[in-house]
């Protein structure tokens, strides 16, 4: 009161007009001079509100300047001005009301207002309502974003005002969405809130759930009499039911100081230790106390002497609980609002569940395409030729390292991937051909020995890679345009890399089918696989065909390695991760048939994602159960999902 009086006196001294209701900015500031000079988070609130409520057109500019530390006070008369530096230690001051320059001053005549971060936050909050109607759409979007991040009740009114005049359709939609969310949280009228809640039924947005969930938060209470009528009671819980165990219910009583704490084994022990008297506790020798029954006896004797509180057993607890009712109360007091919120949330949950299923399906498809990529080379060497190549995983590794080396030479990621794919094919094709010529062709009729020999090659290649590239994981970076994800809504999204791998898998499938069904090599391969001698008598060179087919399978493994390296780490041991899975894929799907490998990969991919969903955050368990499932599956379908029939099945 005194302050206002002084302010009025001061104003009259300056002889300025405007003691009326419409004060100028300068006048408001002078009225609150002390607070503005030394603002603190706790005291400045009313001042900012007064400024904001003045409805002057200059308010927004002033608040922005204040927040940006561009407001200066003239020491001579204590008036506030905008200050802009014109030279060193030389500032030009502008009047905040008229915007006219009042001249240049040196720094020693001035004092800068430096609001701390707490005050700046308050200023920013007050600014939001002005920025919502700013002419610059970027500023409007920024303000909206700030409100979305930290919504308060104060935002509701200015937000509602700003919606009608919003020209930008996007912003308008966002504003009206935020307005409904704020209505749910802050509107005083129940019917309006319920209507707003109902408008969000089935909405997948995280913001909606974040708004609705606090409404249905409950707290557990306990009472000895009837249920209170003035609270929004969610439900009554019976102690000993699934939701509340008896000890937990008793703990509630203890917490509200309605009952003494239950006696635990630890309490007994502590009590006994405290009352040891010459090797005895209550005339029972300490050595006997290893038996819980005797401990209890000793404790009871201590209790009889009133040295310790009486033992409280389960019977006491149950008796005590009978006199009380446990119930849950909503933090939100309006029944209509909580009912509507629960109804809306259950619909949202259903919708979210359905979308999660879709998301899981997309995940499973992408995992299946990874398995398919890893297994497709094997589908040729093992499936078509019947050669067990345990070094298949190492061909994948070689492909990935080829990609890494290419990236070291060609820095542009897009170009380097385009170079790496054919180069990886060439490298592993060559490696496959060399391996076939030197080792495998001598072992065509001895599959178990092929397994062991190729395993020898596998460990040699792994160690070789370790010697060359070291043990640490090497990065194979995807080109920039593969970063990011395709976001359908807040629940469903899939990264572009996974889409790319899916497409790559489709291309490979098409390529494989084309080569096998439409080219000379495919025809000859099928012939040689069926009957090498007959093929030879038809003028086909089985040696050459075997060599090329094996090279083709290895080459595809190399290309798969580049793709896998894009999302998994490239190490010398990465082949190990894929070899068993790849064999499983081919065996489960059905040997000798590309559709089998596809079916196998799909099944394993979906299975693994399904089990991971059932056992969240435990991929190890998922893999374990998946392998066990596959072992059992093979019992019933030993020849895989798509089995060759008749003579082609062979032995």
């Amino acid at each position: 009161m005194i302050r206002i009086l002084i302010a009025c006196l001061a104003l009259m001294c300056w002889g300025q007009a405007g003691l009326a209701l419409d004060l100028t900015l300068q006048e408001i500031l002078q009225q609150n001079k002390k607070l503005v000079e030394k603002p603190s988070r706790k005291t400045i609130g009313p001042v900012i509100e007064e400024i904001a409520a003045s409805n002057l057109s200059q308010v927004q500019g002033f608040l922005e300047a204040w927040g940006n530390k561009q407001v200066w006070q003239r020491r001579s008369d204590g008036l506030f001005f905008f200050g802009t530096a014109v030279a060193k230690r030389q500032y030009e001051l502008t009047d905040p009301d008229s915007g006219e320059s009042v001249g240049e001053f040196t720094k020693k005549d001035l004092k800068q207002l430096k609001p701390n971060s707490g005050v700046r936050a308050l200023i920013a909050t007050a600014l939001v309502q002005f920025q919502l109607s700013d002419l610059d759409p970027v500023k409007r979007a920024e303000a909206l974003q700030a409100m979305e991040r930290a919504p308060t009740a104060k935002h509701l009114a200015p937000l509602r005002l700003s919606i009608e005049n919003e020209l930008d359709a996007d912003l308008k939609a966002r504003k009206s969405r935020l307005e409904r969310l704020l209505t749910i949280s802050f509107d005083p009228d129940t019917a309006t809130r319920v209507a707003a809640i109902q408008s969000f039924e089935g909405d997948l947005g995280v913001d909606v759930r974040a708004t609705l969930n606090p409404l249905v938060v409950t707290s557990v209470n306990i009472t000895s009499g009837d249920l209170p009528t003035d609270e929004n009671i969610a439900r009554v819980i019976k102690p000993g039911s699934e939701d509340l165990s008896v000890p937990a219910a008793y703990d509630l009583l203890v917490a509200s100081k309605l009952a003494p704490p239950a006696t635990s084994a630890e309490d007994i022990r502590a009590a006994l230790v405290a009352h040891i008297d010459g090797g005895q506790v209550a005339k029972i020798s300490v050595a006997q106390l290893s038996d819980p029954e005797i401990r209890r006896q000793a404790y009871d004797r201590l209790a009889e002497q009133s040295l310790v509180p009486a033992f409280i057993d389960e019977e006491d607890i149950a008796k005590k609980l009978l006199g009380y009712t446990v119930y849950e109360t909503f933090a939100e007091t309006s029944v209509a609002v909580t009912d509507a919120a629960q109804a809306a949330l259950s619909k949202i949950d259903l919708n979210v569940g359905m979308n999660q299923t879709l998301d899981l399906t997309l995940d499973a498809i992408s995992l299946a395409s990874i398995y398919f990529l890893a297994a497709i080379g094997l589908a040729i060497t093992f499936g078509v030729m019947g050669v067990i190549n345990m070094a298949h995983g190492e061909f994948i590794m070689m492909g990935a390292y080829t990609g890494y080396v290419v990236q070291q030479v060609i820095p542009n990621h897009t170009v380097s991937i385009l170079v790496a794919l054919p180069l990886a094919f060439a490298v592993t094709f060559a490696a496959g051909v060399v391996m076939e010529r030197l080792v495998i062709r001598y072992l065509y009729n001895r599959p178990l020995e092929t397994l062991l020999a190729t395993f020898g090659i596998s460990i040699a290649l792994q160690q070789l890679a370790k010697n060359i590239f070291g043990t640490q994981a090497r990065p194979l970076t995807a080109p920039g345009w593969l970063d990011g994800a395709w976001v359908m809504n807040d629940v469903v999204s899939i990264s572009f890399i996974r889409i790319a791998i899916f497409i790559l898998a489709l291309i490979f499938l098409g390529m494989f089918l084309f080569i096998m069904k439409r080219t000379r090599l495919g025809l000859e391969t099928r012939t040689v696989t069926q009957n090498p001698r007959m093929a030879a008598s038809m003028g086909i060179n089985p040696d050459r065909v075997n060599m090329l087919t094996f090279g083709l399978g290895s080459g595809i493994a190399g290309v798969a390695g580049v793709a896998i390296g894009l999302f998994a780490k490239v190490t010398s041991e990465m082949g190990n991760d894929y070899i068993v899975q790849s064999f499983m894929t081919v065996v489960v799907g059905g040997v000798g048939n590309i559709w089998g490998a596809l079916a196998g990969a799909t099944m394993i991919g979906f299975l693994q994602k399904g089990i991971e969903w059932g056992y969240p955050s435990n991929t190890l368990a998922a893999q374990t159960y998946m392998i066990i499932f596959i072992i059992i599956f093979i019992q019933f379908k030993p020849r895989g999902i798509i089995a060759l029939k008749g003579r082609a099945a062979g032995d």
Binding site: L272, V273, P292, I388, Y442, L448, L452, G456, I457, V587
Partner: protein, 388 residues
């Protein structure tokens, strides 16, 4: 019966004599019982090698004689180790915990002791509850029985499923490999009840035994030698009789043996389960000497190495398996232990720690290609030349 079997198979006698001579020589040279030329740690290495020889005999029986390339026998080996490790760890922790609790003012109850043990053992995986698999860990007798029973029953169930649906050849190999992988992945989990990837440790200390390690290591060495001798003789006896002929028949032509009226599946299952039990016993002797077991021991690659040893030694002959396992595992220890001299080529120094696996892998290819009978095949050649 027994004399005739030894007479029919003089190689068994030769092997047993050689093993006895080796054991006596090592005992005399040992630190614990003899003149102290061989260090305790090397005694342990030798003891472990004998266990590996035993599992190689089992592998030879199932692969070399019956033709089942199992890539799962090291899983049984590891399971045997886990079973004995549970008792060793439980009992030792119990002694330590009770002693600590006895220092308190009043003696502990059983529940307090068990809680203390639980905290000690499972603290690393953030739990103190005893999982159900530890139900018998307090009894040595039961746990010893489990050493054989758990892998045996696993092998029985797996083998029954696999052989019943006529999964053969490489498919069976891949299936056994999958089983091993599943087991390893399961053990890697923290909530498997077996301490996840921490595994079981401190197994070299026998609970309640104050004897120094130099003596304990000799006990295990002698026990391993005895187990190898028994296992070898048993295996040799099995393959020398009619049973041996049938399983060799299965190896060479399964269909024909089936048409002759033999229950091929029954024979295979018997061999598979029996060898799994031998592998488990070998594991139960191996891991107390190694001191620690963790899931990394059970990964599929270990089982493949086992096949490698048997192949290098020469499969289809039991002494070949022993030679292969002994030779390759000892030479591996030598090369990877950094004791082998590096070769300086001027422009590049070959460090054996880095290049040993490459050499092993390639030599393995060479053995498969050029000496399918392995080192054991050399004996044949010598015999032939001697005869001529």
């Amino acid at each position: 019966m027994r004399t005739s079997f030894i007479a029919k198979k003089p190689s068994v006698l030769v092997f047993l004599l050689a093993l006895a001579a080796f054991t006596i020589a090592v005992t005399i040279l040992s630190e614990g019982f003899g003149i102290g030329v061989i260090s305790t740690s090397f005694i342990k290495t030798l003891g472990k090698t004998l266990c590996l020889c035993l599992i190689a005999v089992a592998m030879d029986l199932v692969w070399g004689f019956t033709g089942i390339l199992s890539l799962g026998h090291f899983a049984f080996f590891g399971l045997g180790g886990y079973m004995i490790g549970m008792w060793l760890m439980y009992e030792r922790t119990r002694l330590i915990v009770s002693e600590a609790l006895m220092q308190g003012q009043i003696p502990p109850t059983d529940a307090e002791v068990i809680e203390g043990i639980g905290n000690q053992i499972f603290g690393v995986v953030g739990s103190s509850e005893f999982p159900i698999v530890w139900a018998f860990a307090d009894s040595l007798g039961l746990q010893l029985l489990l050493v054989v029973l758990v892998p045996g029953i696993l092998a029985l169930i797996f083998g029954w499923l696999a052989f019943r649906s006529r999964v053969t050849g490489v498919y069976l190999s891949i299936l056994t490999q999958a089983m091993t992988l599943a087991l390893a992945l399961y053990l890697f989990q923290n909530d498997s009840g077996l301490r996840g990837n921490n595994g079981l440790s401190g197994l070299q200390n026998l609970p309640g035994v104050e004897t120094p390690q130099s003596i304990v290591s000799m006990w295990f060495f002698l026990a391993s030698a005895l187990a190898l001798a028994l296992g070898y003789t048993l295996a040799a006896w099995i393959v020398s009789g009619k049973f041996g002929s049938v399983i060799r028949g299965i190896r060479d032509n399964e269909t024909r043996v089936r048409f002759l009226g033999y229950s091929v599946e029954g024979f295979k299952l018997a061999v598979f389960t029996f060898t799994a039990c031998i592998a488990a016993i070998a594991g139960a002797l191996y891991y107390p000497q190694a001191g620690i077991i963790n899931p990394a021991e059970v990964v599929p690659i270990a089982s493949i190495y086992l096949a490698v040893w048997v192949a290098i030694g020469g499969r289809g002959r039991l002494y070949g398996a022993v030679i292969g396992a002994g030779f390759v595992s000892l030479i591996s220890t030598w090369f990877t232990g950094g004791q082998a001299p590096d070769i300086n080529l001027g422009f590049y120094t070959i460090k054996w720690v880095d290049w040993w696996l490459v050499l092993l892998g390639l030599s393995f290819v060479a053995v498969t290609l050029f000496a399918p009978k392995g080192i054991g095949g050399l004996f044949d050649r010598l015999k032939k030349e001697g005869g001529a």
